[in-house]
Amino acid sequence: MGRLLTVTGLTTEFRTERGTVRAVNDVSYTVDESEIVGLVGESGCGKSVSQLSVMQLVPNPPGKIMAGTVDFNGTNLLKYKRESREMCAIRGRDISMIFQEPMTSLNPALTVNRQMTEVLIEHLGTEPKTAREQSIDMLSQVGIPDPGKRVDDYPHQLSGGMRQRVMVAMAMLCNPKLIIADEATTALDATIQAQLLELLYDMVNKYKTALVMVTHNLGIVARYVHRINVMYAGRIVESGTVDEIWANPMHPYTEGLLKCVPKLGEKLVPIKGMPPSLVNRPDTCPFLARCRYRQKSCFEQSCSEMTCVEGTHYTTCSVLLGGQE
């Protein structure tokens, strides 16, 4: 499997009245062709912003990508301007994105048909009639009953689950190489969520599409994902395969996360404390305040680079790594 996406040193900042918020801090990760990668972390840790940065969709102002490269199939996407023709040609054709809010992510004033066919017409120059047939076909593939009729509906005539199916269909239309699902199922209820995850999984397998799953649900990760990146306060703090991380979490935050996966009959162990404010943070390890393994040296040195544990397993925690040896 070839390398599809290489993100290196991605840093995104927001200018606010209280100071500069570094929402994404020196983030590096890779995605291989037809690989499913999970990006895990709690709310506000920069998962979504990192993905929006890859797509250059961070609202500017106030957001700005300060540094880094996004190498997609050999081209650095960040060298293009956000509204340039080159960037628009990649969005929706090579990289698609599915968003968290199915209720508001579709345009209320346009029919499903208009919203789907415009992708094909824009990127592939498809005839409107053919585009309509292809859209209907895609709708039936994502399990929408009576797609020939539903295609002329407006979003408000569809349920939340249906709308998210439409979003999935829309993302798949141009057969992209990479789909970024940004908490795509979080807003749906549990049964629909399960159906949609299965659907997404089937679709990316069928079309050999790579998938980045942004989520805070470790259950989802364990079931579908090949590799995990754990994010905390704007940084990736640990990465590895599911097996590696589940068996041997090498960052105190990951360990804490795994302890708060609900299991029947067991008590949850929450992580104590709150995530740090991202405004003008010092450069020390972001988890320091909540860490139970912290040592004096942690307060003095800046946050470590990702270091290999073994195989593809990397962590930023030098303490646990040191203890291991």
Binding site: C88, G92, R93, T104, S105, P108, L110
Partner: protein, 318 residues
């Protein structure tokens, strides 16, 4: 849809009926009556109290008020607006001629407001915080707050008296003398359009800014639409919804404003007709023109409501 339209037309009839009663009573509540005005105008003639009383009787003004109302209303329902009390002309014919003038000026102003207002609003929203935006916002605020008569007088002073490039007053129908008509229309149309332009610009600006932050605009970008397509296909239709609702109000503003504008520029339209009749206590004329203006306003609201449903598919008529 059909039942909705029928119901709205019935509503409209009720509104016209109520307005006709109110106008009928209010004009009679004013001190003085048309006969007194008539007598005062013809003071050279010798008037005995009996002659005045006889004149009142002949005009039907001595009947009980409800009888007068029923007589007038049933006549009007058959399309006959009657005759002016003080000047004896046919009101229907007058209204027809004058409505043409008012509509020509009003509709031109309305169309200009409809195009220019949203355009300024969109430019202003896209260039948010830049000098264009500041200029539009400040001008729009002035446009909304400045009284029409004051703006009109300033413009007459500047363009007609100082620069002497536009006529001071009067109106010529375009098919009589097009050049003259256009020159005479520029100032009144501008003054009439000022409010609608300013209101629409402000409304459009804020709704475009609101739509810009919506999730589905992010979706449109994520689908690879370029700036032009995002603006034209995704932002425009959604942000024009509130602007369309505003247009009903704009039409009402224009009809109401015609009273002031036509008076300042001495234009023989419906507005000036109404004011002159009011000052002359010409009951039948006031009643007739007020009812016609009401019908225009009510009809325009209906059209706007139907348009609104066409733009926003979530609205259903039942």
């Amino acid at each position: 849809m059909t039942t909705y339209v029928i119901r709205r037309v019935l509503h409209a009839l009720v509104v016209v009926f109520i307005v006709s009663i109110i106008v009928f009573l209010l004009i009679r509540a004013l001190p003085g009556d048309p006969i007194e005005m008539l007598v005062a105008q013809n003071a050279s003639q010798e008037w005995t109290p009996e002659m005045v009383e006889e004149l009142r009787r002949s005009k039907g003004l001595l009947d009980p008020v409800p009888v007068q109302y029923v007589k007038w209303f049933s006549q009007m329902a058959r399309g006959d607006f009657g005759v002016s009390i003080t000047h004896n002309y046919n009101i229907g014919d007058q209204i027809k001629d004058r409505a043409v003038v008012t509509l020509l000026i009003g509709l031109t102003a309305f169309l200009i407001g409809l195009v220019v207002g949203p355009l300024l609003g969109i430019i202003s929203a896209i260039r948010r915080g830049k000098w264009v935006d500041n200029l539009v916002t400040v001008s729009a605020n002035i446009g909304i707050t400045a009284p029409q008569f004051w703006v009109a007088i300033l413009l007459i002073f500047l363009f007609s008296m100082r620069l002497q490039i536009l006529p001071i007053y009067g109106y010529t129908l375009p098919w009589v003398n097009l050049g003259q008509s256009i020159r005479q229309s520029i100032l009144p149309v501008f003054v009439t359009a000022l409010g609608p332009i300013a209101s629409s610009a402000r409304q459009t600006r804020s709704s475009v800014l609101e739509v810009l932050g919506e999730d589905y605009i992010r979706t449109a970008w994520a689908k690879g639409m370029n700036e032009r397509k995002v603006l034209l296909k995704h932002i425009l239709k959604n942000s024009l919804m509130p602007v369309v609702t505003l247009q009903g109000q704009m039409l009402r503003m224009i009809v109401g404003g015609s009273v002031v504008v036509e008076r300042v520029f001495v234009i023989p339209g419906l507005g000036k007709f109404l004011v002159d009749a009011m000052l002359g206590r010409d009951y039948t004329v006031v009643q007739g023109s007020a009812v016609v203006m009401t019908i225009v306003v009510v009809l325009s609201s209906l059209i706007v409501d139907l348009l609104y449903g066409w733009i926003d598919p979530r609205i259903q008529y039942d």
